[in-house]
C-alpha cells in the first residue's frame, strides 16, 4: 500500500475508463447525447436540496449494511442475506413500535418508540442471520445458498404480514401497514428534505469500524479467511467467527429495516428492502472493506441511482436501469483490481514488511518451538494481510 504501484493506478484508471465507455456506449445506443445524459445525471443529484437529501437517504441503508458486512467478508464468509434480514428487521421493528404504542395508549414518548424500533429491528435481523450461521456451523450448509433461500422465505413472511396482523385498516392499492405513530418517526436532519438522523448513525458506525480495524479481532478474521488453522491458534474458532460476524451483519441489516420504516416510509411496505441488501454487499466490496471507502461507495451508488433518474428525464430515452449496469461493471472492475493487489504483492513484498502491530500478537500466540518457523509465519501473515477479506 505504501509504495505507490504505477501499474495499479493504470489498472484503476482502465476500470474508470471502462465504466465511462460502457455508460457512453449504452447512452449512444439509446440514441441520446452522452453529454446531455451526464448533465441530467448531475442535475438529478444536485439541482435542489431535496435531491441532495434523497442521495443521503438512499446512501444510509446501503452504507450501514455494507459497513456491518465488513467482519463477515473479512473472514471470507459471504452472507447474501441482508435483503431478508432487512425485511424481518423491519417487520419486527414495526411490530414492536405498534405494540409499545398500544400498551401506552398512543401516548408513548419518542425515545421509547425509537428504542422499541432499534431493539425490535436488530433482534429480527439477528434471528434471521443466526439461522444460516447455525446451519453453516452445525452442518456446513453453504451460507451463500442458505441466505439466498431465506431471503425468499422472508419475502413470503412480509407478504403474509402485510395481509394479516400488520395490515393497514383502510383499503389500499398495495399491501402496506398502518401509519406508524407520529412520535416513532426519525426527525428530519435537513429541513425540506427526507434526510433524517439515521445519517449520523452511518458516521458513528463508520468510526466504530475504523477503530475496530486496528484491533486484534480484525486481524484474526483476516487470518481466518486464508489460514483457518493459524486463526485457531489465535483463538478464532470457526463457530465463534461465523456466529459473531453473521450476528454483526444481521443486527446492522435489522437496524436498516427499522430506519427504512421509521425514517423514510413511515409505514411498512412490500418494497422495504428494495435491493438494498445486494447493493450493500457490492458497496462493501467496492469500498475495499475499508469504512471510508464504503461510505464513499455508498454515496456513489445512491447518487448513481438518483442521477440515472435525472438522466432518464433529461434525455427522454435512456432508461434509469443504466445505473444497475454501471454498478455491475464497477463491481467486476474492483474484483480485478483486488486480484491484482493480491497477486503480485504476495510475490513482491519481502517477508517482514507487514505492519509491526501484527507481530507481537503472533509471537505471543505461538509458543516457541511449535508450529512453523518464524519467517514463514510472518510471510503467511503478510500474505493473509494482502489477501484481505476478499479471498
Amino acid at each position: 500500500m505504501k509504495a505507490i504501484d504505477r501499474r495499479r493506478w493504470v489498472l484503476t484508471g482502465s476500470v474508470v475508463v471502462a465504466v465511462l465507455v460502457v455508460a457512453g456506449a449504452l447512452i449512444l445506443f439509446a440514441g441520446a447525447d452522452p453529454f446531455v445524459g451526464v448533465q441530467g445525471l448531475v442535475q438529478g443529484v444536485s439541482s435542489s436540496p431535496y435531491r441532495v437529501g434523497e442521495v443521503l437517504v438512499g446512501a444510509v441503508p446501503i452504507g450501514i449494511v455494507a459497513l456491518t458486512l465488513i467482519p463477515a467478508l473479512r473472514a471470507g464468509i459471504f452472507s447474501v442475506g441482508a435483503e431478508g434480514q432487512i425485511v424481518v428487521g423491519a417487520i419486527a421493528a414495526s411490530g414492536s413500535i405498534f405494540a409499545v404504542d398500544q400498551v401506552l395508549g398512543g401516548a408513548a414518548p419518542s425515545i421509547l418508540l425509537w428504542m422499541a424500533g432499534i431493539v425490535g429491528g436488530s433482534a429480527g435481523g439477528a434471528v434471521m442471520a443466526l439461522i444460516p450461521a447455525f446451519l453453516a456451523v452445525r452442518w456446513r450448509v453453504n451460507e451463500i445458498l442458505s441466505t439466498l433461500l431465506l431471503n425468499y422465505l422472508a419475502a413470503g413472511f412480509l407478504g403474509w404480514t402485510l395481509r394479516t396482523w400488520l395490515a393497514s385498516p383502510e383499503e389500499t392499492a398495495t399491501p402496506q401497514s398502518a401509519r406508524l405513530p407520529e412520535a416513532a418517526a426519525l426527525p428530519a436532519l435537513l429541513p425540506g428534505t427526507r434526510a433524517h438522523w439515521g445519517i449520523l448513525l452511518v458516521v458513528v458506525v463508520a468510526v466504530a469500524f475504523l477503530l475496530w480495524r486496528r484491533s486484534a479481532a480484525s486481524t484474526r478474521l483476516t487470518v481466518f479467511a486464508s489460514r483457518p488453522k493459524l486463526a485457531l491458534r489465535l483463538g478464532a474458532t470457526r463457530s465463534r467467527t461465523v456466529y459473531s460476524t453473521m450476528l454483526v451483519s444481521g443486527v446492522g441489516a435489522g437496524v436498516v429495516g427499522w430506519i427504512q420504516v421509521a425514517g423514510v416510509n413511515d409505514r411498512l411496505l412490500n418494497s422495504v428492502s428494495g435491493g438494498v441488501g445486494f447493493s450493500g454487499l457490492a458497496v462493501a466490496l467496492l469500498g475495499g472493506l475499508a469504512p471510508v471507502g464504503i461510505v464513499l461507495a455508498a454515496l456513489f451508488f445512491s447518487a448513481l441511482t438518483a442521477g440515472a433518474v435525472g438522466m432518464q428525464s433529461a434525455t427522454g430515452t435512456v432508461p434509469a436501469s443504466i445505473a444497475e449496469v454501471i454498478k455491475g461493471v464497477l463491481l467486476l472492475g474492483v474484483a480485478c483490481i483486488a486480484a491484482y493487489q493480491r497477486h503480485p504483492a504476495t510475490v513482491l513484498a519481502p517477508a517482514g514488511t507487514t505492519s509491526a502491530a501484527d507481530e507481537p500478537a503472533l509471537s505471543a500466540a505461538l509458543p516457541a518451538g511449535s508450529g512453523p518457523e518464524p519467517e514463514t509465519v510472518v510471510g503467511t501473515l503478510a500474505e493473509a494481510e494482502h489477501r484481505g477479506g476478499l479471498r
Binding site: L26, A30, R140, N142, G159, T164, K229, S321, G328, L332
Partner: protein, 318 residues
Amino acid sequence: MSVELWVAIIAGTLVLATPLVFAGIGEGFVERAGRINLGIEGMMIMGAFVGVWAGSLGGPLIGLVAGTAVGLLMAAGMNLVVYRLHANEIVVGLGVTMLGLGLSTYFYQLWIPSGETNVTVQTVPRSGFGPLADIPIVGPILFGQSPLVYLAGVLLVAAWAVSRFTRFGLAVQAVGTDPASAALRGVRVQKTGASALLIGGALAGLGGAVITVGTIGSFTPDITAGRGYIVLAIVIMGRSRPVGIALGALLFAFLQSFALLSQSTALTLPSEVYQSIPYLVTLAVLVITSRSQLRRLYRTTRATRAIRPAVETKGEAT
C-alpha cells in the same frame, strides 16, 4: 383434489423443471470441476431476454440459439476475469449477476418503452405425438409436452454419459477433486475448468431462453426470479451429478407447480405459504445433504487421518 388437477400439476412440474435441468446440468459440470458460477442468475436472465429478442426476429429456434450464445459469451468473460486475472470467483459471479439483471432491464426498456404493450413471440410448438397425447392421465404428462422437455431428458442422459464414460468427464472430475494430481497426470487444469464453465454458461443461457421462448413467450424484467440461485442449491443437493440434479429440479418444480395450481382449490392456506414452500423444502434438503456429506467426510477422513485439511478446504460443493 381431482385427478385432472394432479395431471395438470405433474405436467406443469415437467415444464417448470426444464429450465432448471438445463442450467443445473451445466452448473453440475462447473462444480464438478471445482468451480462455482454465481453469475448463473445473470446468464439466465440475459438468455431469457436475448432469446425473446432474437425470437421476435427469427423464430423460436433462433431465440434458443441466441440465448445459448449470450450465456456462452458471459461465461467466456467470467473465465477470463476469474482464471486469467485471478479475480475472486464469488465477487465476479455477483457482478455478472448484477450486470445481467441491469443489461436485460436496460435493453428491454429501450426495446419496449413503458406504456407500450409487451412483445409476445411464438413459442416452441408442441410436439405432435398425435393420438398418444389423448391417452388419459399419461398422455398429457408424457406426450403432450414441449419438445424442450424431451430435449432436457436427452441432455440429461448425454451429460450422464459424458461425465461417466468420456475422457473429458473424468478430467473434469479429476480437476475438481485434486488439481495438482490432475496436472501431474497430464490433464490441462485451466483448459478443462474453462470448458466446464463455458458449458455451464451456455446451458444457463439456454435455460433462461427456455423460460421465455419455451413457455411464456415474452420477457419481463426479473422474469427468472432467482431461478439461478435455485439451480445452485439443486446442484449441491444433487451432488453435481446429472441424475441428482434432475431429481432436485423435479422436486422444486413439483412444489412450485403445486403452489401455482392448488391455490385455487379447497386447501385454505395463505398464498404466501404456498409460494414459500419450494424455498423452504429446498433449504431443508440442502441441510440434509450437507449433513450427510459432512458425516461421510468425517468417516473417510478418520480413516486416513487427514481430517484438518480436508475439512478446512471450502470444498463443500464437490
